[in-house]
Every structure is written in C-alpha cells, then in structure tokens.
Symmetry: C2
Subunit: 205 residues, 2 copies
C-alpha cells in the first residue's frame, strides 16, 4: 500500500517508511500496480485517476461539512491527523489551522516566504532583503533588514502564540520556520499521518 | 511659514491649518517665497532645494544617532512628534515604531495593503481577494476571503497589541486601518506635528 499527496506539480508518495516525489508532467500513475490511497488538489488528474481501480480517492471518506467549502483537501487531511493544537503548514502560502477536541476551529492564510520577499521588494528595492529566520524576535529592530524580517516573522509568531498548543510544523519550509517556532514539532509526514488515520477509521467501519 | 514633507511623487504642504499636495514632476519649489521647513526622502531634489534660501532642511536638526542609519526621515520625524506610544504609518509599507520616554525603541516594516494583496494573488488566483478591514478579528476564519484578511490584519494586530499605547495611526491608509486599530488616534498630520516640535525646540536653543 502507498499513500500519495498530489499537488499541482508533483505526486508525493509515502510507503510508511520513506517518501519520494514524481513530476505530474512526466509520471504515469498506471505504472503502479500497488494499492494507492491518494488526495489531490490537482483537478487536471481526476479523470485519469478515476479510471485506475487501484488508485483510491481518500477525500470521499471525509466529512467536508466539518471544514469549509473552498478549503484545500491537503489542509483538511492535516487537521484530521491531530486531535488538538495548531498546524502551521509552511509552503508557497503559510496556512495556520486550529483544532480543538478533534474539531476544526478555523484557520488563516499568510504569504509564504517567496511571495512575501517579493512583496517587500515590490514596495522598494531598499526593502529587498532575505529573511533572517534566526533573528531574535524579542528585540525591537534597529536596522532595515531586521525590521523586514521581524515584520514578516514576529507578526505571524505573535498571532500563533495566542492559540493553545501543541504546535505542528509541516510543509516544504518547515525546517526554516522551526527557528521561529522552536516549541513546534516538525512533522514532514503530518499529511500522511492524517491519511493513515482516515484509512484506519474506514477499515473499522 | 509652510511645512513640507517631500516623498518620491509629491510635495505635501501644511500651513498649520490645512494640507495639500503638489506633484514632484510638475511643481517648481522656487514658486514659493514664504519660508518652508521641509524633510525629504527624495534624493533627486536635494541640489535644487539647497539652492533656495527660503527652503530649510529640518533633518539637520535631528540627532540621527537616536535612530538607525537607513531609517527614513519621515519615520524619524513622526517619532519626534510623540513622547510615548506606538506609531502605525500605513502607506505603501506599514511601519510600526515604538517610542518610550521620548526614546525610539525600534520598529518594524510590514507590507502595505496593495503589496500584500499582490503577494496573495501571486501565490494563487484563488487567494486574490480584497481585504475586509471590518472583519471580526476575534473569530477564527472559516472561509477563504476571511482567512486571507485575517492572515494580513490579525497577525499585525496581535503584534502591535503586545506594546503599550497610546497608539497613533497616520499615512494614506490610516482611515482603513482605523477599523483594525479602534484604540488608535488617527492623526494624518502627525509628521507635521513632529516638524513643528523640532522647529520650536530649535527656536528655544
């Protein structure tokens, strides 16, 4: 059995042990004869995958009314992985979702580091700095690069800290944001844990 | 006597009563025979203004070592206007500066609303929403437009609230941000108050 999280550019596989990616453009899902449980935010692959009987769409086993209509299936499945706490998924966007007693409480969307860096440099070339993820966020900045890093990172941190933990960090930039959220568990496989939990639940029914 | 805050695109005049703007491209500063006290972030006008004896550069009367080297003169003069509190200057960037007992404590820079809106829409067309400045920021969002507005506004709000007031809102988008910071004094002329304070101090010396 394989798990697969399909994004706009890649198939992200997990065999319960290790993970690897395949490009959406070049990979043929028919190459796999194993059973694959997947979720996908990529609408262009739906018809192809439905025609393959060993590819099973896990999204059909989720009570979507517990979430909101336009919420990405990847965010939903990450929330399913935990019973309590805050999930920070740091990718092209940073999504922050709150779960209490197994119930989704709401969440917000903040720009990922590349989009945000571009936002600063669009305002002025004098603000075109790389973010310093190791900046001391307890000190008010007294120079321009720190003022920009603090503006991006401390605002997010101050809001996240209003919520009760535990805190989970996932997504491609999880390690970088780990410097900002040292209290968070870095779990690159959170979404796969959510998928496994759904499979177990379905098997018990 | 006139006060003038010169930006990259306009001369912003204040006669102690009302304010008006002139375009940097078309306005000739020699047209004015009154005494003008000015600050300028526009390096291209320096030579022109120095040649006019009635235009007096107020930045020469500021102890710049109380601030930091690359800090804009407009931010510095706004800080000079207050003895205590937080200044939120909402323009193309949102700058937040903290002053305690007349001393600058540091500050940070956050993207202004246009740059931030572009940051979200650059990530995905599904995040291309206008910000709702009247959103209830005490409720975790459960739809995409709210998740984006909350991501931009609540993060900033949570960080600003860590600091002691009073809070002052200035800049071109001060009224909009007034919905987010209802406890803040909206003072569109804060920078001119700072300039007046410097003039009074210099006159007393």
């Amino acid at each position: 059995m394989l798990l697969c999280d399909i994004g706009n550019t890649s198939y992200h596989f997990y065999d319960g042990d290790s993970d690897y990616k395949q490009s959406v453009d070049s990979f043929d899902p028919a190459e796999i004869s194993d059973e694959v449980y997947y979720i996908s935010v990529n609408p262009s692959l739906v018809t192809r995958l439905v025609s393959l009987s060993n590819w099973k769409d896990l999204s059909t086993y989720i009570s979507r009314e517990d979430y909101y209509e336009t919420m990405g299936i990847d965010r939903i499945v990450a929330c399913e992985a935990i019973e309590e706490g805050v999930i920070i998924d740091a990718g092209s966007a940073v999504t922050v979702d709150v779960v209490k007693a197994g119930q989704f409480q709401g969440g917000f969307i903040y720009p990922g580091l590349h989009a945000m860096q571009k936002a600063y440099s669009d305002i002025s070339s004098r603000l075109a700095f790389s973010f310093d993820f190791e900046l001391d966020l307890d000190k008010m900045p007294k120079n321009s690069p720190d003022a920009v890093s603090y503006g991006y990172l401390r605002t997010l941190y101050s809001e996240v800290l209003r919520h009760d933990g535990p805190f989970f960090l996932t997504g491609g930039d999880a390690e970088l944001f780990g410097h900002v959220f040292p209290m968070a568990d870095i779990d690159r496989h959170l979404i796969f844990r959510g998928m496994q939990k759904i499979i177990t639940r379905v098997a018990q029914c």
